[in-house]
């Protein structure tokens, strides 16, 4: 279906990534946001608070991130599309409800504008060090979807994608921005509503007597019902059967947890989002994401000028990790160079997926700034040797 025109600010804008993310959420149909102020993400909800009364919806500033992250889940079961926005310390507090959303299959979006950590760390300065937390932060086994934009335009486009994927797979989607992209201002083109594709909520058409809230469809995703429509369904964070009732035994646990993982894992091909250039005959492939991918671009240019065939594989989708794609690239290239503003989180994934067929060189940065292009360039040159 097409976007609701009320939320779409069609036109050409010069706005930063945080603001573009908010516009993406509005265009995607988000009509409820709950947040708690935290640098450097607050601009997203500030804009939402200003815009939503004229679009038709509600923003509420909650008492903490625990509250914000579950208020959005309540709103989703009440019928809304909803999201919350935070940064490092707030993301840590939200883990409980990322797990609850995964377990209850509540479609929603968590935006994390990453800053330096651990703990309070660097409130105003960038990092990309929450990538593993996005994947594994809540307890238990589950699969997650995470996207990483590298420009304000992508903050808009991919926020819509994040909402669409959340609905399609009934899962929380992590929108992993970083301070640099959040606070970077560029041209953002917002299309007409009829040119924006929206994945509708998978609401059941069955009568209440036949409806089972957690009975999976063919793609392993169950149909949803909203509160207030006579379905009288039950939702619990406990291990539950297809009726949604607690059933605490190993067999139900096995069936449920494997399905939660499999509904996303089985869709890896459809959930592989990469932006590649020159990988066909590359000696070295730079794998990066977010702001680092733009810094890497200069290093790639430098290396090409030196005659090194250097490819780019930018990860737009981080989770599920594009294992098959990296494995395929590992058959061709001699090495991967993986710069990221952390001490080597995604590099380890690349190394794992490469399975020894190509070398992986991690170019780390502890946070608080971006790499010097020269550092990435040197890693490429070393890899090519």
């Amino acid at each position: 279906m097409q976007a609701d025109p009320r939320g779409v600010l069609t036109g050409v804008h010069f706005i930063d990534g945080d603001h573009a993310c908010c516009e993406g959420a509005l265009a995607a149909g988000a009509r409820f946001a709950a947040g708690y102020p935290i640098t450097p993400s607050t601009e997203v909800v500030e804009r939402f608070a200003a815009r939503i009364p004229t679009v038709g919806g509600t923003f509420i500033q909650m008492e903490d991130e625990l509250a914000a992250s579950i208020a959005i889940l309540g709103a989703v079961w009440g019928g809304a599309k909803a999201f919350t926005v935070t940064s490092g310390p707030g993301f840590s507090l939200m883990m409980e409800h990322i797990g609850f959303a995964a377990m209850t299959e509540t479609p929603c979006v968590f935006v994390n504008v990453q800053r330096g950590g651990p703990s309070t760390g660097l409130p105003t300065l960038p990092a990309q060090a929450d990538m593993m937390q996005a994947r594994w932060g809540s307890h238990g086994d589950y699969e997650i979807i995470a996207l990483s934009p590298n420009s304000p335009q992508e903050c808009f486009d991919l926020t819509i994608k994040a909402f669409n994927l959340a609905e399609q797979y009934r899962t929380p989607v992590m929108f992993m921005m970083d301070e640099c992209v959040g606070h970077m201002t560029e041209k953002v083109v917002i299309p007409r509503p009829e040119d924006i594709e929206i994945y509708p909520r998978r609401l059941t058409r069955k009568p209440p007597s036949e409806y089972k809230p957690y009975e999976p469809a063919e793609d392993l995703v169950p149909e949803m019902a909203h509160a207030g429509n006579g379905y009288r369904f039950h939702v619990t964070g406990l291990t539950h059967d297809e009726r949604g009732y607690p059933a605490m035994n190993a067999a139900t646990q096995d069936r449920l947890v494997r399905r939660l993982k499999e509904k996303i894992r089985a869709a890896e091909d459809r959930l592989t989002f990469v932006d590649e250039d020159g990988v066909e005959d590359a000696q070295v492939i730079v794998v990066s994401y977010g702001i680092t991918s733009r810094v890497a671009e200069r290093a790639i240019e430098m290396a090409r000028q030196k005659g090194v065939k250097t490819g780019r594989c930018r990860l737009i989708g981080i989770w599920p990790f594009p294992e098959k794609r990296i494995r395929a690239l590992a058959q061709r290239a001699r090495a991967f160079v993986v710069p990221e503003i952390n001490l080597g989180q995604i590099a380890r994934e690349v190394e794992r997926a490469a399975g020894g067929h190509a070398r992986t060189i991690s170019v780390t940065h502890a946070g608080g700034g971006v790499h010097r292009p020269e550092d990435i360039f040197e890693a490429i040159m070393e890899a090519a040797r």
Partner: protein, 294 residues
């Protein structure tokens, strides 16, 4: 003989049954536990208040009382520990036509979830909070709660509790609740009436129910079984409608003041939001009935 026939007659069912997910019965609560009694009162309140059951949503946190949501044949949400109120906040704001009831325990609502409760009361969010106060953490085996009275024995206060306890009604009142009442599980009629009243009242409503946990609290404190507790409640309780909430503290063996203490009208969160935004934005304000996506 005729009484026996009546009981075994399949045509005659407990009037509470249509409100329960009978396929989930028997429930997990211990003999003598007060939670079932409150559920009984609640279902009767649903009948009395004549609310549209398809529009009642029940939200629970974690703990013995948190299981209430799972047994009621309503749209029901068993959320995370302490977070029933913020979940209810989102649910209510997304679809204000829902009558949202939070049904949970003292530990869930006042320890781990205490911050959420006072803020929802401050906002005067239109939700009803029913708090079963058994003075202890029951699901986890009888640890000290923020409501455990001085000297009471718990597994984490084996020599008697020495922390001062919260006065729940005073807390809800001072945070701004529109309705505050307390009953014990002995006061089933009064409790039912209060529950029925709040189903029809707008704003943040709070009902505290003093309820026994014979397995963990009463036994460990040598207060007898469920029936003994009913006698105890009868003996110790005193109805004082309108009593200042500051005078409602619970002690281990002292008087239990019950009654309706607060019943006032002030604009709820949505009214405040809508009136401010339409005042500031005029025609530009788009007021919506609900936020339901297609």
């Amino acid at each position: 003989m005729s009484a026996l026939l009546e009981v075994t007659n399949p045509e005659v069912t407990n009037p509470v049954e249509p409100f329960l997910r009978m396929e989930r019965i028997p429930h997990i609560w211990c003999p003598g536990c007060g939670i079932g009694t409150t559920v009984n009162c609640f279902t009767r309140a649903l009948i009395e208040s004549k609310v549209d059951l398809d529009r009642v949503a029940i939200v629970s946190g974690i703990g013995c009382s948190g299981r209430v949501a799972g047994y009621l044949r309503l749209d029901s949400f068993h959320t995370t520990h302490g977070r029933a109120i913020p979940f209810a906040t989102g649910l209510k704001l997304a679809n204000p036509s829902l009558n949202v009831v939070v049904y949970s325990g003292d530990g869930d609502l006042f320890a781990i979830g205490g911050n959420h409760l006072i803020h929802a009361a401050r906002r005067n969010l239109d939700i009803k909070v029913i708090c079963i106060n058994n003075l202890i953490y029951a699901m986890t085996g009888g640890q000290t709660a923020p409501t455990t009275p001085g000297e009471a024995i718990t597994t984490t206060a084996p020599y008697g509790c020495y922390e001062p306890a919260f006065n729940l009604c005073a807390l809800a009142d001072s945070a701004g609740a529109s309705y505050v009442a307390r009953w014990t599980t002995y006061h089933v009629r009064q409790l039912t009436k209060s529950m029925s009243e709040v189903m029809r009242k707008r704003g943040f409503c709070f009902i505290e129910i003093i309820s026994p946990c014979p397995t963990l609290y009463q036994r460990r404190n040598k207060m007898g079984d469920g029936l003994d507790t009913m006698k105890y409640y009868k003996q110790k309780s005193k109805v004082r409608h309108g009593a200042p909430t500051s005078e409602l503290a619970i002690t281990k063996d002292g008087e239990i003041v019950v009654g309706k203490f607060v019943d006032r009208d002030r604009p709820d969160y949505l009214e405040l939001m809508r009136s401010r935004l339409s005042e500031q934005l005029g025609d530009r304000y788009v007021e919506t009935e609900n936020l339901v996506c297609s």
